[in-house]
């Protein structure tokens, strides 16, 4: 399993959540989900996997950064961006943990 599997998994999980939550056009949501994950996921992965950082503080930072990016991309309220950013990240982090537990 390469890194790109985990990146793809994160996108596949987060994009539908953002689409359902933010109610924006599908293609646009998908594009921004890819870009937003492309920004945050590689660095988060690097800190956690290769620098030994604790997952949850990193996830909090990721959620905050993604809140800003969602707010910029979809022009929704900050509160709405925060809610769906947290929902998407908690889900994808949880799914990632489950997959890694079952996989290894």
């Amino acid at each position: 399993v390469t890194y790109f599997f985990w990146l793809a998994l994160s996108i596949v999980i987060e994009a539908p959540i953002l689409w359902m939550g933010l109610r924006q056009p599908l293609l646009r949501t998908l594009l921004y989900a890819v870009l937003i994950n492309g920004i945050t996921h590689p660095m988060a992965w690097w800190f956690v996997e290769f620098r030994g950082a604790n997952l949850w503080p990193v996830e909090v930072i990721v959620a905050v950064v993604e809140t800003v990016l969602i707010w910029l991309a979809f022009k929704v309220t900050v509160r709405r961006a925060l809610v769906w950013s947290v929902a998407a990240n908690v889900t994808s982090a949880g799914a990632g943990l489950l997959v890694s537990i079952f996989h290894y």
Partner: protein, 216 residues
């Protein structure tokens, strides 16, 4: 428009720069074959003290492209999986303090799992026999099954095969070789260069998408 081009060039140079650093720092020695899975730990020494200068962490041996080798590095071949080492704390896993007076296995095992930095006796770094002794010492634990120092010079001549036994007794063979030229991908793991590149590239496209979105 000019400022956008400037930002584009700046971001592009950052991406290229970090990628280049990744290429130049990548170690040419990599795992090419394995017939099993487990974990490989890395502890690197280059000073005279008894502490590892850095631990490169753990890799699943199945993730071939993540494995690169450095000179003066001890490799701890271990049975196990992320659940024994902790999926969240790959870097907290080090070799235990070499304290023969400590007979408390569980305590020592916990030290093994959580100690940082571990204390490594000088002889471990210098004498082959001591390395073997460490290997035997660690066999009492659940996780480490074999420790070996691999000299990078060996790889220049021929591929090096490392065999270790899993807890169930099955032999796992790992074959390493010198890849002869720097590879792009191994540095991905050690330096984070491509991670950074990917993030910057995504940020760049994101910024342009936002900018484009603003236009009437």
């Amino acid at each position: 428009m000019r400022s956008q081009i400037f930002i584009l060039l700046l971001a592009l140079s950052a991406v290229l720069g970090s990628t280049w650093q990744t290429i130049s720092l990548a170690n040419p020695i990599s795992l090419i074959e394995s017939n099993g899975h487990g974990m490989v730990g890395f502890v690197h020494f280059d000073n005279a003290d008894d502490y590892p200068d850095y631990a490169l962490g753990w890799r699943d041996v199945r993730e071939k492209r993540y494995l690169t080798f450095l000179p003066n590095t001890y490799y701890l071949f271990a049975r196990g999986n992320y659940s024994t080492g902790g999926v969240l704390t790959p870097f907290a896993v080090h070799i235990p303090p070499f304290d023969s007076a400590s007979n408390d296995r569980e305590t020592a095992r916990q030290q093994f799992l959580w100690s940082k930095p571990p204390i490594i006796p000088s002889e471990f770094r210098t004498a082959p026999l001591a390395v073997r002794n460490i290997g035997q010492y660690c066999e009492g634990f659940d996780d480490i099954v074999h420790i070996v120092k691999l000299d990078s010079a060996e790889f220049l001549v021929k591929p090096v095969k490392v065999v270790y036994h899993t807890h169930s007794g099955r032999a796992v063979e790992l074959l390493y070789r010198n890849s002869r030229r720097p590879q792009l991908y191994p540095g991905f793991a050690e330096n984070g260069g491509l991670h950074l590149s990917l993030s910057i590239a995504s940020l760049l496209i994101f910024a342009f998408a936002i900018q484009r979105n603003k236009r009437p």
